[in-house]
């Protein structure tokens, strides 16, 4: 089951969303900009220890990290196959740091708090035509609809399995695309019906 924000409150839940977003942005940028192994080790250690220090339950954390871990493992194997162990370590360190911090953020921060923080952070961009409210709302919709899309994909897979088409990418992707577009249409009507004006 896909977790969004954990309902069990930890001290990390109480840290303002703006601070958590800023830490993610700074650490995420730093881990990709630095080649200093000591700094990298520090950032990796920080990313791994943060969920433990916050006593986050490991199961929902693992559920979200696992798909990315598979991808990271594949990249590491690829670099090792090319005989580049140094790059393999760098890729693993950088991606795992960003992914762990991002998952920790989403598990400990409500979408509405993230939206409000994002609106504050993006407020100066109002002068160049960016709408902070729209950007924040888009983020919240993305968080809301990730599990919905997972569920729809599961339903389509089941339906195609019955027809022996579970291995066909097109047989899953096409209905998913159609349903997603229809859902987007319905959603835009629902948002309009609830007096949303984008301000």
């Amino acid at each position: 089951m896909f977790e969004i924000c954990l309902s069990r409150v930890t001290w990390l839940h109480r840290v303002p969303a703006g601070i958590k977003l800023s830490v993610l942005a700074v650490a995420g940028a730093a881990v990709f900009l630095t080649d200093d192994r000591r700094v990298l080790a520090g950032l990796v250690g920080f990313a791994f220890s943060l969920p433990l220090l916050a006593w986050l339950p490991l199961r929902p954390l693992a559920r979200q990290v696992l798909p990315a871990a598979v991808l990271i493992a594949a990249l590491v194997v690829f670099h090792l196959a090319l005989g580049d162990a140094d790059s393999a370590v760098l890729v693993a360190a950088r991606l795992s740091t960003v992914i762990l911090l991002a998952v920790t953020l989403t598990l400990t921060t409500r979408a509405s708090a993230m939206v409000e923080a994002m609106e504050r952070i993006l407020a100066p961009l109002r002068f160049v035509g960016v709408s902070p409210a729209k950007a924040g709302f888009t983020l919240s919709l993305a968080i809301r609809f990730i599990p919905v899309l997972f569920a729809i994909t599961g339903e389509i897979r089941e339906a195609q399995k019955v027809r022996g088409l579970e291995r066909s990418v097109v047989a899953v992707a096409l209905p998913l695309l159609v349903r997603t577009l229809r859902m987007a249409d319905d959603l835009s009507e629902a948002i309009a019906a609830r007096a949303y004006d984008g301000d």
């Binding site: 409500r110 919240s140 629902a190």
Partner: protein, 230 residues
């Protein structure tokens, strides 16, 4: 009062609704018809989600074409599939969404969210992610999220279609208890039997407008005739 004067709707070459003129002043109005009969188009006209191709829809004097924002504050709309109308991940966040759009103060938003959660027995679900709710709970959330905005009218587009019997009854009870005018599109004729007025649509035309005692038998006969290919 909601008034339609010579309202028709065309989508390109397709006429979804032929000209219709009527006033809705009753507290409970039902809309029935087969799939593609124009009933959902009719429902969407009432809060400006669909703009008439000809004629005008007025809600308490406001035109849905010219005053769409003001009309949407007066007319709430509950869609068939709650999954497509819940916009925030957590229950209480989603209920607060419409109130934030109305630019209400934070204290009032919190009070109204509390009140609606209590009223519909959803306090325990307050911080639950919406995607983990059952179908019935999702529909109650969608209804609560509209009712919390305290609209004068509420339009329900097939609110019980995706629900089991227990949840159908729960939603029917919630609708029955509303102080507002409710316009309900539904195929569930048993649920509509206590309504004051029933509008029957067929092939884009309003073919019957009357109390349930006359309109529902008319609709049954119409559907039976169509099924028999008459």
């Amino acid at each position: 009062m909601i008034e339609l004067n010579g309202v028709s709707v065309r989508f390109g070459d397709l006429t979804a609704l032929y000209p219709v003129s009527l006033s809705l002043a009753e507290r409970r109005v039902a809309v029935v018809g087969s799939n593609g009969s124009g009933k959902s188009t009719f429902a969407r006209l009432l809060n400006g989600l669909v703009v008439p191709s000809t004629g005008e829809v007025r809600v308490d004097g406001l035109s849905t074409a010219r005053d769409a924002r003001a009309v949407r504050r007066k007319v709430g709309f509950v869609f068939q599939n709650p999954d497509n109308q819940i916009v925030y991940p957590l229950v209480e966040e989603d209920i607060a969404f419409g109130l934030k759009n109305l630019k209400l103060p934070k204290a009032e938003i919190a009070a109204r969210v509390d009140a609606v959660l209590t009223r519909y027995g959803m306090e325990a679900l307050r911080t639950r992610p919406a995607h983990l709710l059952s179908g019935g709970q999702k529909q109650m959330l969608a209804i609560s999220a509209v009712l919390v905005m305290e609209p004068d009218y509420v339009v329900f587009d097939e609110p019980t279609t995706l629900l089991d019997l227990r949840n159908k009854r729960r939603v029917a009870r919630a609708i029955a208890g509303l102080p507002q005018t409710a316009v309900v599109v539904s195929h569930d004729l048993e649920f509509l039997a206590d309504f004051e007025r029933v509008l029957v649509f067929d092939a884009g035309r309003l073919v019957c407008d009357g109390p349930p005692a006359t309109a529902i038998p008319f609709y049954r006969d119409l559907m039976a005739a169509e099924a028999d290919g008459v």
